[in-house]
């Protein structure tokens, strides 16, 4: 393992229960979505809320003080019962970091049973920074200059076209694949199927990306009940879905790609460049002591349909430059060798930031249990999630059964 990447966590925790509030633009409080998801996860686990010893919330930055202290907000809404509480914020990796807190608590012997909850209510349109004149905040600066999230997605997409010959049809094919999968998912916001031609006919937002290549922002909530393996075994769960590895690492200096919200990369005059996205999966694989060849299903962060192709390479499903070939071979469809985004991905969900990484874990849990219905990946044994967000945050979670 590379220096600075931290030690490996030994031991595993069990995913005892999962629950979601369907994604959409419901216009209600994020607390309602979170409690709905939490109750669903508790019911799925067969655990009473009063038994939970640790509640870990994923914070939202858009819903005022209750969002900053989401763990306590959800605890109060479920009914104060004296559990220990935590709130985590890590942009798109928020849910994973909240899960990491629960996992660490369990593995250190601090508790047997924890609840992890993330939920969000989002405004329409582009995600935007906090108000005021704040040139010290890189997120403020890039919006003043006119660089939205799709700006960055599009820079990567154009780069992919130049380096590897990716085409707009390839990007459209990712959307078509994910829309087909998501059409079978009752928790997805968008359940319409699309053709390549329909994607290519949608309006350009940030060349070469079109409206149907870019993920929306959504309301939604997701929750997990996690426990020690001993506790899960006493319950006699089968199949037992376990968290086998996790990663919430920072990038390593120097960055080779411009990352949100920065307007420049690091300078690499005195250091080599490193790929942040590749490092996320690498740490999780090392912790789980497996490799990409062991993966049967993946949920990756398709903020744009072009970025899904980048992820194929960054999680090691294929060498750099071969993602288009992997996609077009059908390998990443449900029924293919290694299906990616059987949930429908962000293409069908839109992003509910603090809930999204947990939604990825929910989907893999259903897949590993064999409960994914029409989206089922046959014989799924190992799954990996991966995501990336602002300010050097990202995560990967490996589940096994």
């Amino acid at each position: 393992m590379e220096a600075g990447a931290g030690g490996r966590v030994s031991g595993q925790v069990a995913i005892l229960g999962i629950g979601m509030h369907p994604w959409g633009k419901w216009g209600r409080s994020f607390v309602e979505y979170g409690v709905h998801a939490a109750r669903a996860a508790l019911a799925d686990a067969g655990v009473d809320w009063s038994e939970i010893q640790f509640i870990s919330g994923g914070a939202t930055m858009r819903c005022g003080y209750p969002g900053y202290v989401a763990g306590a907000t959800f605890a109060q809404a479920l009914g104060w019962q004296g559990a220990e509480v935590n709130t985590s914020y890590a942009a798109c990796a928020t849910g994973s970091q909240a899960l990491a807190a629960a996992r660490t608590k369990i593995l250190s012997g601090g508790c047997d049973l924890a609840l992890v909850v993330g939920a969000d209510t989002t405004p329409k349109g582009f995600l935007a920074p906090a108000k005021g004149e704040r040139p010290d905040d890189p997120d403020w600066v890039r919006f003043r200059l006119g660089f939205t999230n799709p700006t960055y997605f599009a820079l990567y997409a154009r780069r992919r076209m130049a380096l590897y010959g990716a085409t707009e049809r390839d990007f459209a094919a990712v959307k078509v694949k994910n829309a087909a999968a998501g059409s079978e998912n009752p928790n997805a916001r968008y359940r319409k199927k699309f053709t390549v031609e329909e994607v290519l006919a949608s309006a350009t937002v940030a060349d070469p990306l079109r409206l149907l290549n870019i993920c929306a922002t959504s309301d939604g909530g997701a929750a997990l009940v996690v426990s020690s393996l001993d506790y899960a075994r006493r319950r006699g769960l089968h199949p037992l879905v376990r968290v086998a590895g996790m990663s919430c690492v920072t990038p390593r200096f120097a960055s080779g790609e411009v990352e949100m919200p920065d307007i420049a990369t690091d300078s690499a005059v005195a250091a080599d460049t490193h790929s942040f996205r590749a490092s996320l999966a690498a740490k999780a694989y090392a912790e789980a002591n497996i490799g990409p060849e062991d993966v049967s299903v993946a949920e990756v962060y398709d903020l744009s349909s072009a970025m899904e192709l980048d992820w194929y390479e960054h999680i090691g499903l294929c060498p750099p430059g071969e993602a288009e070939r992997l996609l077009n071979s059908g390998a990443t469809r449900i029924g293919g060798r290694v299906p990616v985004n059987p949930s429908g991905g962000l293409a069908c969900f839109g992003e509910a930031v603090p809930a999204q990484a947990l939604a990825q874990v929910c989907e893999l849990t259903w897949q590993l249990r064999g409960q994914a219905g029409a989206r089922q990946v046959q014989g799924a044994k190992v799954g990996i999630t991966v995501n990336q967000g602002l300010f050097g945050h990202g995560s990967a979670v490996i589940l096994e059964r």
């Binding site: 935007a128 600066v141 003043r144 700006t151 940030a206 307007i263 300078s267 005059v269």
Partner: protein, 147 residues
């Protein structure tokens, strides 16, 4: 030209030279690492540990690393002309500094005129207008072998 004052949209990040404007970065006295926007202290290179950073002019030319455009009006704090005018955006790799810097592309140059690998140079142009002043910012322009 109007009589209005010409002022930077963001203070201290670029010079206002009419002919040869440049970005102002910082450079570590110990390891030579650049930063943009400029930092006051503490080198970001974890292998260095230097604390002393100096202001340093960045290269005025570079190679187009990637590009896109904004077809829809960005949200605040972007200040839009009325009506909104779409603009192209460039990510330019600076050879000496070994870093990539984003910027809008000058008015009148669209994505169809850009290709990865082409030389680009830095110019100043209006970012937004205020009643008493014209707020300028750095933008990238295809170098086309010219000045």
């Amino acid at each position: 030209m109007s009589d209005r004052t010409r002022a930077p949209a963001i203070d201290g990040w670029y010079t206002l030279d009419e002919n040869e404007p440049h970005l102002i970065g910082s450079r570590c006295a110990a390891c030579g690492t650049y930063s943009f926007p400029p930092r006051n202290r503490f080198c970001p290179n974890p292998g260095c540990g230097g604390a002393e950073l100096q202001r340093a002019p960045l290269s005025r030319t570079g190679i187009l690393w990637s590009y896109t455009n904004a077809c829809y009006q960005p949200p605040e704090p972007y200040i839009s002309a009325d009506p909104f005018l779409p603009f192209a955006i460039a990510a330019v790799a600076l050879e000496k500094e070994k870093m990539i810097v984003l910027g809008q592309v000058v008015t009148g140059v669209g994505v169809e005129q850009l290709r990865i690998g082409m030389p680009m140079r830095l110019v100043l142009e209006t970012l937004h207008e205020e009643p008493q002043s014209e707020r300028v910012v750095w933008k990238w322009k295809p170098a086309q072998g010219g000045a």
